[in-house]
């Protein structure tokens, strides 16, 4: 059954005839056509006429890594402002133009990039290009919009402190990468946002929104030569030049045995993460990592969830994951009512130690491979916008689409020895923790995991002062 399954998946699209142009034999991510505009912007077109929709993704190198110290959140505010009007359209005219045709436009900052996205019906592709070209080349960045967006961002961060699970990523990134550029939160903090000026945002726009920093992917129902011509018309004359983006800083390991305890005096549950740096998806061991993590914390019947949720009823959810945008930082996470925090945390840790020592069983290996084969297509590459997002992330990291197209074959080739070597040698053993909960109850519990530093969930920022 398992080999039959493999055959089915890998043979998948071979049955398909070339209803959409430029697509070869079955590949999870097809080649598309790639070119650079006269202005130097790299473009990939991925036509696919299954549904009459087109997805546009325009990513610029930059992001919060280039925020000035003390002004974290600048790139994030830039992203907010980019959807507040561009070219001749102010915010009301811009949002009306988008929504009138049932489209959507967004912009988001990450640590190393700012990404504009647009999703429109095929008939409205030219409007989408016009709006994206205006956002990239002629953003308004108006004072009134800036004041409002900054105030909204500050209030939004304040509201997020109501829910421990929504602020956990901020504390986790700040703590695990403290002392390095990766520790800076993309969203900034209430204090740093207040320090950002409109001039800072305009400077970020000037230095980051430039064709030589851009990757542009268009996927969906369009005619490639017409799309190419339209892109050249909108972006070919864009002459803005930028300084080279900041080099990708190293992603160091955190010190072992450190605990950040965030006091949330009114929280009924305790939320925790532990882990440390591992390796990212560009590594030759990526397939083995995928197989291993599926078994430990990457699906409903993973060891973590099966034990903590299904068997012990300690939590609604437990899992483990890798953050590939930050070097492959590995973490285990769950939550439970504070009275059961010790049981939940020590059980999760014991499961992890056992996993490191003993690895997977042969049965788990086969189950994990089957699961990945069965779930990869719908979860990662079923729709044009999924494929656009994935290809953009690959290209942006300097990786080939082969990484995805060979993934299932590589997963299938993983042996028990391979996967258990990766578990033993490449999953982190030196762990640090972030715990959010009622400190007076949890403090005695977490001290067994290392040196405890404390902060309060309502204190400004995302870590110890």
């Amino acid at each position: 059954m398992k080999s039959a399954l493999l055959l089915l998946v890998l043979a998948a699209g071979c049955a398909g005839t070339a209803a959409s142009a430029g697509v070869g034999p079955e590949e999870l991510i097809p080649a598309g056509s790639e070119f650079a505009t006269a202005s130097g912007m790299r473009v990939i077109l991925m036509p696919d006429s299954e549904v009459p929709l087109v997805a546009f993704r325009l990513r610029f190198a930059g992001g919060s890594m280039e925020d000035a110290a003390g002004k974290e959140g600048t790139a994030s505010l830039l992203a907010s402002l980019l959807s507040c009007g561009a070219g001749s359209r102010d915010l009301p005219a811009f949002s009306e133009a988008v929504e009138f045709v049932g489209g959507s436009v967004g912009a988001a900052a990450a640590q190393r990039s700012v990404t504009l996205s647009a999703d429109f019906l095929k008939d409205d592709g030219d409007l989408a290009l016009e709006l994206l070209a205006d956002m990239a080349q002629r953003p308004r960045l108006a004072p009134g919009d800036f004041e409002r967006e900054r105030a909204l961002a500050i209030d939004g961060l304040r509201a997020s402190r109501e829910e421990p699970q929504s602020v956990m990523p901020q504390y986790w990134g700040s703590f695990m990468f403290r002392g390095t550029p990766w520790s800076r939160p993309v969203v900034g903090s209430e204090e740093t946002l207040a320090a950002v000026t409109l001039d800072d945002v305009r400077a970020a726009a000037r230095s980051q929104l430039a064709p030589d920093r851009a990757w542009f992917v268009v996927a969906g129902d369009f005619e490639p030569s017409a799309m190419r011509a339209a892109i050249e018309a909108r972006f070919g004359g864009w002459t803005s030049k930028s300084a080279p983006p900041a080099a990708k800083p190293a992603t160091p390991r955190a010190a072992s045995g450190k605990v950040l305890l965030v006091d949330a005096p009114d929280a009924w549950q305790t939320f925790f993460r532990f882990g440390n740096m591992a390796f990212d998806w560009s590594d030759p061991d990526f397939a083995a990592r995928y197989v291993a993590n599926t078994v430990f914390g990457g699906r409903f019947t993973s060891r973590l969830n099966a034990k903590l949720r299904t068997e012990l009823g300690l939590t609604y959810g437990a899992g483990s994951n890798f953050d590939d945008s930050r070097g492959g930082l590995f973490f285990v996470s769950s939550y439970t009512e504070t009275g059961k925090a010790e049981a939940c945390m020590t059980t999760a840790l014991a499961l992890y130690r056992e996993f490191l020592d003993r690895g997977l069983t042969a049965e788990e290996l086969e189950s994990s491979k089957a699961y990945i084969r069965g779930q990869y297509a719908p979860n990662a590459v079923e729709t044009a916008d999924q494929r656009a997002d994935l290809l953009l992330s690959l290209r942006f990291d300097g990786l080939s689409r082969d990484l995805v197209n060979t993934l299932l074959a590589k997963v299938d080739a993983v042996t028990l020895d391979d996967v258990n070597r990766v578990v033993r040698e490449r999953f982190p053993r030196d762990l640090s923790w972030v715990v959010i909960g009622k400190a007076e109850a949890v403090r005695p519990v977490v001290s067994q995991f290392g040196d405890v530093t404390e902060t309060s969930i309502t204190a400004p920022g995302w870590g110890p002062r």
């Binding site: 059954m1 039959a4 399954l5 089915l8 998946v9 998948a12 699209g13 005839t17 070339a18 209803a19 697509v23 079955e26 097809p30 696919d48 006429s49 299954e50 549904v51 009459p52 929709l53 915010l91 949002s95 929504e99 009138f100 045709v101 049932g102 489209g103 999703d119 019906l121 008939d123 909204l152 209030d155 509201a159 402190r161 109501e162 829910e163 009114d266 009924w268 549950q269 699906r299 409903f300 019947t301 299904t310 009823g313 300690l314 939590t315 609604y316 009512e337 189950s367 089957a370 699961y371 084969r373 069965g374 779930q375 297509a377 719908p378 590459v381 079923e382 729709t383 044009a384 916008d385």
Partner: protein
């Protein structure tokens, strides 16, 4: 995925017709050519009453199965609130053959699953490679044929559900919505949240689960939708073989309780120490999903609440900057008369009274002036685009078919849903807003920020 344009869409988009031809639209607006959305599914009704809908789609070698059961928290009563949702959890660990290994066996075959419970329905979703169809059908046969619960499993799962309950209660908005709902209804079971009341969650008995299953989980009370890389004839045969012998059950006693008309405004005031920002929920009783007036409420939501171009976000977030965010609308698809809410999260230093007054003024303006033709056209375009986006995934199609079958009179009515929204006029909007959004029909719930008396830094200026 790619190469093949699926048979479904190829057919679906074959015949252009003018947009919104049922619409009484502005005659000067050029009629855009719009291809109707037709999903060429097939249906069979088994002898035991189970309706099966199959739509082939070979874009990926996978299958999405959505089974809609017409049972939700609406079918509960005081003392066992939340049991429909708890039961949903137990469906993954009660079958005679796969009870302990349901998820493990499905995942080992490359499949995954999930489920959700609403006020009105419980939906079980399986996503799997096509080779796993026989196994998945056998697993469904197993759990549809009668359940046996291990008391240890019941106990562990109760704790899981309790953790889920508490997770929601960490969110002040959910706490406020729960109290708003409880105040809005005096009789109908929509008055409690799907998750149930805390003491009921703590006191469910195993026999509550067994009785709930016996009463509600009947094949004649379900619709199974299968979309993906399948052959319809073969799939119907497999479903018949697997599920055809499950006996039909007698029709349940219908939920006959009607909420009496509200005869005056109700107000709830809460203080939650976790709340960082003040919040207001305004709600009005509205019709059921099956009512001919329902599309007017869909349009009203789009006009008032959805997107930056809609009226309340534009005025309250963007221009006047009273709110951090605006949400709400009609409350999901419901068999019985429902609620329409306007949920306001305020900027830290704004007064709830100011936000409430402004929201009510904007709604009153819509009742008097109605929407512009351009606003209505925006709503039509947006609605159609949303449906098209749902067609991009086999799972989106499966859910759309199941939802349309369950709440809109049959799965063939997808285009009719688009047309019914397109047919709503400015006069319809004025009439329904004026009739519905009255003070007598209104329930208001307010959350003041911080710990009340202390005034803690950013309490609303209107706090007393």
């Amino acid at each position: 995925m790619r190469p093949m344009a699926t048979a479904a869409l190829a057919l679906a988009l074959a015949l252009p017709i003018p947009a919104a031809r049922t619409a009484r639209a502005d005659p000067q607006a050029p009629a855009k050519e719009r291809t109707p959305v037709v999903l060429p599914a097939e249906e069979r009704v088994l002898a035991n009453g189970l309706k099966v809908i199959v739509l082939p789609d070979r874009s990926i070698p996978n299958v999405a199965m959505n089974t809609f059961w017409r049972v939700g928290s609406r079918n509960e009563r005081t003392g066992i609130t939340g049991v429909a949702h708890f039961f949903e959890h137990m469906m993954f660990r009660g079958g005679v053959k796969y009870g302990k290994s349901f998820d493990r066996d499905m995942e080992a075959a490359g499949g995954s699953n999930n489920a959700y419970t609403s006020f009105d329905v419980t939906v079980y979703q399986n996503w799997f490679p096509k080779s796993a169809l026989p196994l998945v059908l056998d697993m469904e046969r197993d759990r549809m044929s009668g359940l046996r619960f291990d008391p240890a499993d019941v106990k562990a799962e109760l704790e899981v559900v309790y953790s889920e309950f508490r997770l929601g209660r960490e969110d002040p908005h959910e706490v406020l919505a729960e109290q708003h709902r409880a105040a809005s209804y005096t009789a109908h079971p929509y008055q409690w949240d799907v998750i149930g009341w805390e003491n009921d969650i703590r006191n469910w008995k195993q026999e509550d689960l067994e009785r709930f299953y016996d009463e509600n989980y009947a094949p004649n009370n379900a619709v199974m939708v299968i979309v993906g890389d399948v052959d319809p004839a073969e799939t119907f045969r497999r479903v018949e073989d697997a599920l055809g012998a499950i006996p039909r059950k007698p029709e349940r006693r219908p939920v006959h309780t009607q909420e009496p008309p509200q005869k005056g405004e109700r107000r709830v005031e809460l203080v939650d120490p976790n709340a960082q920002l003040p919040m207001v929920i305004l709600g009005w009783h509205m019709c059921a999903t099956g009512d001919p007036e329902f599309p007017v409420f869909e349009v009203i939501e789009d006009l008032l609440l959805d997107g930056d171009a809609s009226r309340l976000p534009r005025a309250l977030v963007e221009e006047e900057q009273v709110c951090l965010g605006v949400g709400g609308g009609w409350q999901g698809h419901q068999f019985d008369p429902s609620l329409f809410t306007v949920d306001l999260t305020l900027r830290g230093d704004r007064a709830v009274e100011q936000a409430e007054e402004r929201a009510l003024a904007l709604i009153a303006k819509l009742a008097v002036e109605g929407p512009t033709e351009r606003e209505l056209e925006r709503v039509r375009n947006k609605n159609r685009a949303e449906i098209l986006h749902r067609l991009a995934k086999i799972d989106g199609k499966a859910h759309l078919l199941g939802e349309t079958e369950t709440f809109f009179g049959g799965w063939r009515n997808v285009q009719q849903r688009i047309d019914r929204i397109a047919a709503v006029t400015a006069d319809d909007v004025k009439r329904v807003v004026a009739k519905t959004f009255t003070k007598e029909n209104r329930t208001v719930a307010v959350m003041r920020a911080g710990s009340g008396g202390e005034g803690g830094g950013h309490a609303g200026t209107g706090a007393k």
